[in-house]
Symmetry: C2
Subunit: 217 residues, 2 copies
């Protein structure tokens, strides 16, 4: 089993009797290359990601590297609970209508493109799930995203933040777009901004699917 | 346990020793109301959905109904593998960058709003996951969505369809936006359209995260 140490530490029972290679953060390319190398040599290798490997995680990079090999090993992607699923569940039901997932990390994507996507999502009234909202080095992007969305939605639009969903240090904040405080958000956080119909109830964020317009509920 | 019969049939072991109430399709409001009524009476009730209850499923409706009650029961949302997670895994790694989920069902949402969202997602180069692409009665929406996206992306943009992901009757099709044939798509299908950088390899759809722009891979 190969993975980033923080994620491997979350699954002690699964790794107990396995050969384990733990790597540090920001070594994604090395990690995936190593997994392919071992699998190419005939081993069964599990590459462990946080969340869903197919959503901002390692599945794509593994395939990109495999596509450059002459005889790549067999690869299977096992889907998981992405931050977007887990954080939504902890906040209530914010994703009940059309939504976008946007990463604010401009390490691998030009900021202009990220901004264009935030603008498009805000203007077309998508619920917006923000991945990688903030890190020590990337401290202004969430504030800018908030400004862009505020040009299309009122400040009382429900907004929620979940940090470390379902882990021991989980932190859930339900607030509004206007009150959303970037400095309370970190690397393990996902931020969800409601659409024009999203409401809060009992400390939860709920986006109606539209049944109330069609039926008596 | 309460659920739509098709979903309950998928989990025979889980429902074996439970009291089960199966309902037919299109009875979502009744189903959720019944779950709340039984829970309000002191029972532990599991409302079973397909996929993730928080993504186009029952979590929101349960909360909407609970919000109208004077003393609603305690509610917990257990996240699951949504169609977006499962279908992406079966197609390779199409969702490795910013994406939108859009439902083409205009039963509860005006078509004009759906079209506006497709247009925005296409123009801002989101990967697009299309829920509810087609049914017997809704047979033209996917063709129209395809037209709108084709105005922003070339016909050779990778597109994939997964019907009944991970079930016995699973069907996976990898094609292009131009060749995408709405008549091959049904009620159990999810369609995923790549962004401008998505490629196919070995019959799979892969969207690069951007590592190749920054590192030698």
């Amino acid at each position: 089993m190969i993975g980033y140490r923080t994620y491997l530490d979350l699954i002690p029972k699964l790794i107990r009797d396995k050969e384990v290679i733990a790597s540090s953060m920001m070594k994604e390319v090395d990690r995936c290359r190593k997994a392919l190398e071992l699998a190419g040599g005939g081993r069964n290798v599990a590459l462990v990601c946080g969340g869903d490997p197919g959503i901002y995680a390692m599945a794509g990079l593994v395939y990109e590297l495999a596509a450059k090999q002459e005889a790549p090993p067999e690869i299977e992607v096992v889907p998981g609970i992405a931050a977007v699923n887990g954080c939504a569940a902890r906040l209530g039901a914010p994703l009940m209508h059309d939504f976008c997932a946007i990463s604010l990390s401009d390490l691998l994507t030009p900021w202009e493109l990220i901004e264009k996507r935030i603008e498009a999502a805000a203007a077309a009234d998508f619920v917006i799930a923000i991945y990688n909202p903030r890190s020590k080095k990337r401290d202004w992007q969430l504030g800018r995203a908030k400004e862009i969305i505020l040009a299309h939605r009122p400040p009382d639009t429900p907004a929620g933040t979940v940090t470390a969903a379902f882990r021991a240090n989980e932190k859930i904040t339900v607030t509004t777009l206007g009150e959303l405080a970037p400095e309370t958000v970190g690397m393990q956080s996902t931020v969800i901004i409601g659409n024009s119909r999203t409401f809060t109830w009992n400390g939860l964020i709920i986006t109606p699917r539209g049944y109330g317009d069609k039926y008596e509920i």
